[in-house]
């Protein structure tokens, strides 16, 4: 008799790949009938997971032929089935999968577009948090500013793309979508956030991108400023800081006790 564990791994393999004869033999009815019955489950699994990917990657789905998307989704689902029952969280590995997917080689922007869509998915489901205001910082002594470490809006995501995929994304949000989009050859440094329940994608300069990346990883202002300056010697941290504060991007802060004098030295 088939043990439950073996039956379940056998059905999982049958649905995602190869059917072993002992699974078919364990199903009531003759062989073609058993295969047809099992196929109802196989179809449901692949179809419903493809729909989940379509929901999370609507723009990728829109810019390629529907058959191509179905083909890519099928291959992805079989090699990367979900590990959690929340399908809104399914597809984090899809962008990397697309970048290595041979049939997508002629569409070099596709993986970055998928990364942008995944950032939007994460932003959509990030927890809510109340932004701090400039007044909150009034109690911080000026000498402590270099040691300020900010907590960013939990929905904020940063994405460095090799082409201007935000143009495709933005065009898709618009009802009057243009026929063609010139991606150009320029790279894009993007910040994705959820604000007032709307997903925003904004293009920022590489130095601000480096600065926010450092802040996001918990670095104090002095070190984050260094990161910005390393990307662009004319980086103006005060402007970047003011903008983030005004745009409600900070939800908390702490003054780190670690001395950062070394980082302050030019």
């Amino acid at each position: 008799m088939l043990k439950l564990r073996d039956l379940q791994s056998g059905v999982r393999r049958a649905v995602l790949g190869n059917t072993r004869p002992e699974i078919i033999a364990a199903i009531l009815g003759g062989e073609p009938e058993a295969e047809a019955r099992l196929n109802i489950h196989r179809h449901h699994v692949l179809h419903s997971l493809t729909e989940a990917l379509k929901a999370n990657f609507p723009v990728v789905c829109h810019v390629v032929d529907p058959r191509f998307f179905a083909y890519a989704a099928d291959a992805f689902i079989r090699s990367n089935p979900p590990t959690k029952p929340c399908l809104a969280e399914y597809g984090d590995a899809f962008p990397d999968f697309l970048s290595g997917f041979e049939p997508a080689r002629g569409l070099p922007y596709l993986a970055d577009l998928a990364r942008l869509e995944w950032a939007a998915v994460e932003a959509k489901h990030a927890p809510d948090a109340l932004a701090i205001t400039a007044e909150t910082l009034q109690h911080v002594a000026v000498m402590d500013y270099p040691n300020l470490a900010f907590t960013l809006d939990p929905s904020l995501r940063l994405l460095h793309a090799h082409s201007a995929v935000q143009k495709i994304w933005a065009a898709h949000q618009d009802e009057h979508e243009p026929e063609t989009i010139d991606l150009g050859t320029e790279q894009a440094w993007l910040m994705v956030r959820r604000r007032e329940e709307v997903i925003e994608v904004v293009s920022i300069d590489p130095a601000t991108f480096a600065f926010i990346t450092a802040v996001q990883s918990g670095r104090p202002l002095a070190q984050a400023g260094e990161a910005g300056l390393a990307a662009d010697p004319f980086f103006d941290m005060a402007t970047a800081l003011r903008r983030l504060l005004v745009e409600d991007a900070f939800v908390g802060f702490s003054v780190l006790s670690t001395p950062t004098e070394e980082a302050l030295e030019p």
Binding site: S9, R12, I40, P85, A88, R194
Partner: protein
């Protein structure tokens, strides 16, 4: 058995509506008069607008949580992380009912997003009992277990489904969610008589009845019924519902619609139709669509 709530808070036996993403904003804005809503907890585990909308609905309407992801039939046990997320949702929403399915969907940590059929064996009975007990202890709530739609039967099954459910109730104190559409689909696909099921489960344990539509698919010369929740409730399913309403008069019913989702008004009308059918069944009169 650990300490847990012994009795579900009561819902009036009026028919509720399964609330899905396309109707969420409309329900928040217009607050239609629906006695209660049921949602899939998996769709509300992230942050953002969905959970905020549900919490606002919960302020004036009872909400039931109907899980599809716990995989209570998995031999490897249940995903503790998912159970913890369900627990925090239960704490936030204080749902009037919490239910799941007699099926499995996880194997080796991979989630297949389908309610896959269990073999009804002593081994499976022990696995499901253990998993239900763990879930009930963690959630501090009694679970209602729904009979699944079945498309295949396992040769080594030895226990009829109503007996399997009866034993789960005895071992874990769980309740039963009677899905009459699933009973009909399973009777057609796997020759498991719905009447025997209805007569075979302990009536006092049935805490909810589900209603939905199904599709017909031609397969290898025969016909299989597919539980796609994509249509009005079919006439023979209404007849099973009348039987269920007589047998389980305190169990509230719910309309589920998950594919080809119509306007909310259509769902609300289907729920009112269920109320009329229930009243007719309990009063022992034939339901006449012309009169209604």
């Amino acid at each position: 058995m650990m300490l847990r709530q012994t009795r579900d808070r009561s819902l009036p036996p009026a028919t509720g509506v399964g609330l899905r993403a396309p109707h969420l904003a409309e329900v928040v804005a217009r607050r239609p008069a629906v006695p209660w809503f049921e949602v899939h907890p998996e769709n509300f585990m992230g942050g953002g607008s969905a959970i905020a909308a549900l919490i606002s609905i919960r302020h004036d309407t009872q909400v039931s949580l109907h899980g599809v992801g716990l995989s209570l039939g998995s031999s490897e046990g249940i995903d503790a992380q998912h159970l913890a997320r369900l627990r925090s949702l239960v704490l936030r929403l204080d749902p009037v009912l919490v239910s799941e399915h007699l099926s499995w969907s996880i194997s080796s940590g991979m989630y297949l997003n389908d309610l896959l059929p269990l073999p009804y064996t002593e081994e499976a009975l022990a696995v499901v009992s253990r998993n239900i007990a763990q879930a009930q202890d963690t959630l501090g709530r009694r679970l209602l277990m729904e009979n699944p739609s079945r498309y295949l039967g396992w040769r080594h099954s030895t226990i009829p489904e109503p007996e399997f459910l009866t034993e789960l109730v005895r071992r874990t104190g769980c309740g039963i969610l009677c899905d009459v559409n699933n009973l009909y689909v399973t009777e057609h696909n796997c020759s498991a008589p719905a009447a025997e099921w209805l007569a075979g489960v302990p009536a006092a344990a049935v805490g909810e009845i589900h209603l939905a539509g199904h599709a017909r698919n031609a397969i290898d010369g025969g016909e299989m019924l597919i539980d796609d929740h994509g249509d009005h409730v079919a006439e023979p399913v209404w007849h099973l519902f009348a039987d269920a309403a007589r047998l389980f008069p305190d169990a509230p019913a719910l309309i589920e619609w998950d594919s080809n989702i119509p306007s909310f008004a259509v769902l609300a009308a289907e729920a009112r139709l269920a109320d009329a059918r229930r009243s007719a069944a309990i009063l022992g009169v034939a339901y006449d669509a012309q009169v209604a």
